[in-house]
């Protein structure tokens, strides 16, 4: 390049006023609304493009005795068919532990397990061909429930415990004892864009892979291993996902691997898109849990000793379940101090798809048991559940050690709860609700306030690292790539803001490119809410490296002191000299200063000794609280969420609009999990709810009419996170627990005040479908001796 672009044109004129902290729109917003945003299935297809479909097992447990694919091979449009025998490299794609065969030819462990794959000239023809397979099985009795698995000691990983103090004697010595349990249903991710991979063979025997994946580096690794080629021959490119929520952390890889094997065999581009029912049948979900407690407490409901057991239904293989059940254990305290505690986590193996990461990663299921305990204690003592919750909160100076011996620092939950009580008019509304219930015969209201304390960091320590690459071009435009993936959470927008902030330039001058394994290697999955914390720091690091070079150059060039140099409003002040960012970049280029840098970050302070279940697994905690008010129909069990008030702590928000979007979206997704989203299997282990016709995620009327969301003001993260913000992806999901708790309150309120017997506890497993709510109403009425029928 000889002549550089005109500095007056181009990028001037756009105002930057500190990009960080602004409610900047999502970088793809205009492409979303015009339909121009390209998802994996929308990419231009190659000449001779093939489409793949997967043949699956139709029993939940047993052996394959014969596979006859002759009709499949002969079907119209079919170009290639592969079975396990066609895999030359690794055949197990388990992400942490082995146990996930890419295809099976013998043992079948769940209904929907992949047996073969077909490449055909169209998606339709591939699907039609798959249906022609003849596979014989010898069926064995499947293990389908947690109860069966516990009884058979069928585990995917060994049980694990954590403890502090002597819970058994503390429970015994307490004034009151109580025990109970709750079953918590699973949840389908229902990312609007289903699983998809599109693979193109390269000249050197490698593959270019477009995969809707939260973990491109792992897709690269597994595709290379399955093909038996070096990692550097595989490039994974990930522009955007149409939702991930954890469902594309490990379970996106298999489809890329199968497409790659077919592409390798045919030397054609192969696209594998699961249609909705196959996706729901073949991929894992949020783990269903069955949790138990035994608790001792005093007259105010303060816990003195507690034993908790969390049993996760992991499906047929380990996948990420060890860490997921661990996270359930790490969150079985939520925001409450548990004096003398023991927590045990079982990883039950069943003949269903392998359950996997889903927003919260086991945390929500763990939290449910302690929130259940709070309610149960309150009902048993006839106290206000909020009073019991407040009495049990972690202290600031004392009562601040978790069951895994990490000290809870910077705890602002009590203060947040007080603020939220005021802003939501909690006390007045409790009274209004009582008045309403007294005058309404069949409709009853309930309200609840629940807190959230969620630990931020991957509990697998090595994953807490990130890389980024920044290139500045001679027109002053900036290109950023980092290890994180964009699935709607606004990660790329925040990264662009961070980089713009470092250089003092307008955010529009910064473009975040597709995540690519050849640009930033060995990246961790975009998960555990850590996307911005990790990649934001790495991008900042890269930007600061280049900025320092520019400063060094300016010091020399203008003979000024480095303290006299500042970057803002797309311009640089260097002593007397003021020049635009572009001008500085161009001068630096001519002076042969490198305008490209990588950046790196690893989270400080964290360590964990799993053997002894002690350490500091979390860099910090994210906090929030919500109030939900519901209305139930005691004749039908139907309900409606009337009002929600949320106060959430995101530290110093990088982008309030995006953070609020995460809070609202996470909350509603949590509401779905706890209310209408019900998975049904038949007694042979076949999933029956395989589409949105039968599996009901929240729709627009399920959002409350009154939906107040507030970010906690003036609350910078005290840890040195990126611009003192806090992670926001997962924590708000658990704010939805207040809906479940409010439903319980409404159920309790179904009994007229004068008929209530102290100590009767309204039990409510989840999802709390209208059927479960009606059952609970009937049960509580029966317990109080009120006839509901006939």
């Amino acid at each position: 390049m000889r002549k550089l672009s005109d500095v007056d044109k181009g990028l001037k004129g756009k105002k930057s006023s500190g990009a960080v902290g602004q409610s900047i729109k999502h970088e793809s917003a205009e492409m979303h609304v015009t339909g121009k945003a390209v998802y994996t299935d929308d990419k231009l297809e190659s000449l001779g493009q093939l489409h793949a479909a997967v043949g699956m097992a139709t029993i939940a447990s047993g052996h394959i005795t014969a596979i006859d694919l002759s009709a499949v091979r002969a079907a119209q449009g079919v170009v290639a068919v592969i079975t396990l025998d066609d895999i030359v490299g690794h055949t197990d794609i388990g992400p942490v532990f082995p146990g996930d065969p890419i295809l099976t030819k013998d043992v079948v462990e769940f209904y929907g397990q992949a047996i073969f794959a077909v490449a055909a000239t169209s998606h339709e023809l591939a699907k039609q061909a798959v249906a022609l397979a003849k596979i014989d099985y010898q069926e064995t009795t499947p293990v389908l429930t947690i109860e069966q698995a516990l009884k058979a000691k069928s585990f995917v990983r060994p049980p694990h415990s954590m403890k502090r103090g002597d819970s058994a004697s503390a429970i015994e010595q307490a004034k009151h004892q109580l025990s109970g349990q709750i079953a918590i249903g699973g949840q389908e991710h229902f990312y609007l864009e289903g699983q998809i991979a599109s693979v193109i063979p390269t000249e050197d025997g490698g593959m270019t892979v477009y995969s809707s994946s939260q973990h491109p580096a792992e897709v690269q690794k597994l595709v290379a291993e399955v093909l038996g080629i070096p990692f550097n021959r595989v490039v994974v490119d990930m522009k955007r996902m149409g939702g991930g929520f954890g469902g594309k952390e490990t379970q996106a890889a298999g489809w890329s691997c199968l497409a790659a094997v077919l592409a390798n065999k045919t030397q054609k581009a192969v696209k594998l898109r699961l249609n909705r029912s196959d996706d729901m049948m073949m991929t894992g979900k949020r783990h269903p849990f069955e949790n138990h407690y035994q608790v001792g407490f005093n007259g105010q409901g303060v816990i003195e000793g507690i034993d908790l057991t969390v049993n996760g239904n992991c499906g047929y293989s380990p996948d990420l379940s060890d860490a997921i059940v661990d996270r359930a254990m790490f969150h079985a305290d939520n925001g409450y101090y548990l004096d003398h505690v023991s927590i045990t986590g079982n990883r039950c193996k069943t003949n269903t798809a392998s359950n996997t990461a889903f927003r919260g990663f086991g945390g929500p299921q763990g939290m449910m048991i302690i929130e259940c305990v709070m309610d149960d204690i309150a009902y048993s003592l006839g106290l206000d559940p909020l009073a019991v919750r407040k009495a049990n909160l972690y202290g600031t100076d004392t009562r601040n050690i978790t069951p895994y011996h990490q000290q809870v620092e910077h705890n602002n939950l009590a203060e947040m709860i007080t603020k939220l009580e005021l802003s939501s008019r909690y006390a007045e509304r409790c009274q209004e609700i009582d008045d309403f219930n007294a005058s309404s015969k069949f409709l009853k209201k309930g309200i609840s306030l629940t807190p959230v304390k969620f630990g931020i960091s991957f509990t697998a320590q090595h994953l807490n690292q990130a890389g980024a690459l920044i290139n500045i071009y001679t027109d002053g435009s900036v290109d950023v790539t980092h290890g994180g993936t964009e699935m709607g959470q606004g990660l790329h927008t925040k990264i662009a803001q961070i980089v713009a902030q470092v250089f003092g330039i307008a955010v529009d001058n910064v473009k975040v490119s597709a995540t690519r394994t050849d640009k930033v290697p060995n990246a961790s999955p975009t998960a555990a809410s850590s996307g911005t914390d990790l990649n934001g720091k790495a991008a900042q690091n890269a930007a600061q490296t280049i900025k320092q070079r520019l400063i060094d150059f300016a010091v020399e060039h203008f003979a000024v002191d480095s303290d006299d140099i500042s970057f803002s409003d797309d311009a640089i002040d260097a002593g007397q000299h003021k020049l635009s960012f572009v001008e500085l970049v161009q001068k630096a280029y001519f002076a042969r200063v490198s305008l490209s840098s990588t950046g790196f970050y690893r989270t400080p302070k964290i360590y964990y000794d799993r053997e002894n279940a002690q350490g500091r697994p979390f860099f910090y905690f994210a906090m929030g609280a919500s109030v939900s008010e519901v209305l139930i129909d005691t004749l039908t069990g139907e309900y409606k969420l009337l009002q929600t008030d949320i106060l959430h702590d995101v530290g110093d928000s990088l982008n309030p609009a995006i953070d609020i979007g995460q809070i609202e979206g996470g909350y509603i997704q949590g509401v779905g999990w706890l209310t209408t989203e019900e998975l049904h299997w038949n007694d042979k282990g076949r999933l029956l709810t395989t589409g949105p016709a039968t599996y009901k995620i929240p729709a627009i009327s399920d959002a409350p009419k009154v939906f107040n969301v507030e970010l906690l003001k003036d609350s910078p993260n005290r840890e040195a996170t990126i611009y003192h913000s806090k992670a926001v992806g997962e924590p708000p999901f658990m704010l939805a627990i207040s809906v479940w708790s409010a439903l319980r309150a409404a159920i309790a309120n179904a009994v007229p005040v004068q008929d209530r017997v102290k100590g009767v506890i309204p039990s409510l497993d989840t999802p709390a479908t209208p059927e479960r709510v009606l059952k609970a109403v009937q049960l509580i009425n029966a317990q109080q001796g009120i006839a509901t029928d006939e």
């Binding site: 729109k25 999502h26 793809s28 917003a29 205009e30 979303h32 609304v33 015009t34 339909g35 121009k36 945003a37 299935d41 249906a131 229902f190 609007l192 864009e193 149409g242 939702g243 929520f245 909705r276 029912s277 939501s424 008019r425 069949f442 409709l443 699935m487 709607g488 209305l631 139930i632 004749l635 039908t636 139907e638 309900y639 409606k640 009002q643 008030d645 609202e664 979206g665 996470g666 509603i668 019900e678 949105p692 016709a693 009901k696 995620i697 929240p698 729709a699 627009i700 009327s701 399920d702 959002a703 409350p704 939906f707 107040n708 969301v709 507030e710 970010l711 003001k713 029928d789 006939e790």
Partner: protein
């Protein structure tokens, strides 16, 4: 005489399809044949709205200022066969932006941060587009209408209930909808309306049956009722296509291929509602959306329930005829039609006959319809001011969900006693069915606590419902019983709040979103 091409406008461009598989959906046509990838597939079953596009057609205006206008209806392209495009304008998400200027519905979605992953967004944008168009049209037709914002909230809920978003939690989208619908801008579609109408009328001049034959599969699109009757008799194995919201699923979900399809979408006689002094006669091709207003006027509870039948997209295509025609035990309208004593006009060749909806259903998926016969019209008696209609739809989710139980009561009191009563249920048996034992228990009696209790018990004689993914048998029976109680409670306490779906929230507490 026959023509063998489907003709329509793709935005402003006239398209002619001469050779295609009649089983092809509009979604696949857009994405695969035209490479218009803005329209997304989220489910291919009509439940998520990611594939929403809008069909415009010429309709006569109620307002005297203009004689005709374009009516914009959102559809789920994943369950709409190509034949539905004939004679219409198809508008997709790619058509909204003009140059660099976003359409006001798109701009509102951007301004309100209404997209996160963006995969649902094109569908929402198109639903919003059609909502905005319809609200503007309604305002124009009814100048006296000064409906407050409460109605807008409801309109937005109804207009967007067929679009699922897994990311946003909907608040931002609702906000965008308000901004877009309160903006009185004039868009390019309005500017070009006259030209579009002229182009569509050109296509409509043709009056010959459209036939497509492809790979052994055939499609017939007749223009007249007689021709339709002749074709149905001639091809008794053919599938009759109304809105396709049920039939298309056999292709997109059931992997079936329909060999011969006869579409009613161009038969004008069937797209009409005729009224006599005593009856509403609804043609088999009248969509829910088209019959809704009239049915609501005579039977408010029927109208209320229709808002919860499917979604706007489903109601824009789906028909009463199809709801009866598919003989599903969980169809929402048959119990209501049975309770109201509605009758079907059946046509076979030249012959017509009448049968009550109640007698039409014989057994699970078995009806009185003969081979070569079809439903021509549905005749619903007009409301009797002495009688009370109560309709209850129970489902897991309020929006767009198939009923677990649908209960319908039609009652006349004389001297406080039940003088006439028909009770019909859906979801309780293999067919939509009357609850005779329950009716019997109430007939001639006062609805006292005790009599109601007896009637509730009697339901167990009428039904032994099944368990499935939606609910258990016990729940169905219990709810059915409780609805008897609820029905009489509502008849007595006419002002009490008894329904969660219409419960009015005190919106004083709205503070919206705030931050530092």
């Amino acid at each position: 005489m026959s023509e063998n091409k489907i003709q329509f406008l793709l935005n402003n461009e006239r398209k002619v399809i001469e050779n295609c598989d009649p089983n092809m959906t509009v979604l696949n046509y857009l994405r695969e044949e035209l490479s218009r990838k803005g329209t997304k597939e989220g489910c291919a079953s009509g439940d998520c709205g990611a594939c929403t596009a809008v069909l415009a057609e010429v309709v006569q205006s109620a307002n005297s200022q203009t004689t005709e206008h374009l009516s914009y209806q959102s559809i789920n392209t994943c369950i709409t066969f190509l034949s539905a495009l004939h004679g219409k304008q198809l508008v997709t998400v790619e058509d909204l932006q003009q140059g660099n200027k976003l359409h006001s519905v798109q701009q509102a979605m951007v301004d309100c941060h209404g997209s996160q992953c963006g995969f649902c967004t094109p569908g929402f944008v198109m639903s919003l587009f059609s909502l905005k168009k319809n609200l503007a049209q309604a305002k124009f037709s009814d100048a006296t209408d000064n409906s407050p914002d409460v109605d807008l909230d409801k309109d937005i809920e109804h207009g967007l209930a067929g679009n699922l978003c897994r990311c946003t939690g909907y608040r931002s989208i609702t906000e965008a909808a308000k901004q877009a619908c309160n903006n009185d801008d004039v868009d390019q579609f309005e500017h070009e309306q006259a030209a579009t109408i002229a182009q569509l009328k050109l296509i409509a001049q043709q009056q010959d049956t459209v036939e497509l034959h492809n790979n052994g599969k055939s499609l017939y699109l007749p223009y007249t009722l007689d021709k339709l009757a002749q074709l149905v008799e001639q091809y008794p194995k053919a599938k009759l296509l109304a809105g396709g919201t049920d039939l298309a699923l056999s292709v997109t979900q059931g992997m079936a291929q329909i060999q011969t399809m006869i579409s009613m979408s161009n038969v004008r006689e069937l797209a009409q509602i005729n009224q006599t002094a005593k009856t509403l006669s609804i043609g088999a091709m009248v969509s829910y959306q088209q019959s809704h207003q009239l049915l609501s006027q005579y039977y408010p509870e029927f109208g209320q329930m229709l808002y919860r039948l499917g979604s706007t997209q489903v109601r824009n295509s789906g028909t009463l005829g199809g709801n009866v025609g598919n003989a599903s035990p969980i169809g929402d309208t048959p119990p209501v039609l049975i309770a109201l004593g509605a009758r079907l006009v059946l046509r076979k060749g030249e012959r017509t006959r009448e049968i009550s909806v109640e007698d039409y259903f014989v057994d699970y998926k078995v009806t009185q319809l003969e081979s070569g016969e079809f439903i021509e019209r549905i005749e619903i008696p007009k409301a009797n001011s002495n009688k009370h209609l109560k309709v209850f739809k129970i489902s897991k989710r309020l929006d767009d969900d198939i009923s677990t139980v649908l209960a319908c009561f039609y009652i006349k009191f004389t001297n406080k006693k039940v003088a006439e009563i028909t009770i019909a249920f859906g979801g309780m048996a293999g067919i939509p069915k009357r609850a005779f034992a329950c009716e019997q228990a109430l007939m001639g009696r006062e609805p006292s606590e005790q009599n109601i209790a007896v009637a509730m018990t009697a339901l167990a004689k009428d039904f032994s419902p099944m368990s499935d993914v939606r609910a258990s048998s016990e729940y169905r029976l219990q709810v059915a019983k409780n609805l008897v109680r609820k029905c009489f409670y509502e008849l007595e306490q006419t002002h009490a709040a008894t329904r969660i779906e219409t419960f009015e929230v005190d919106t004083l507490d709205v503070r919206g979103v705030t931050h530092a």
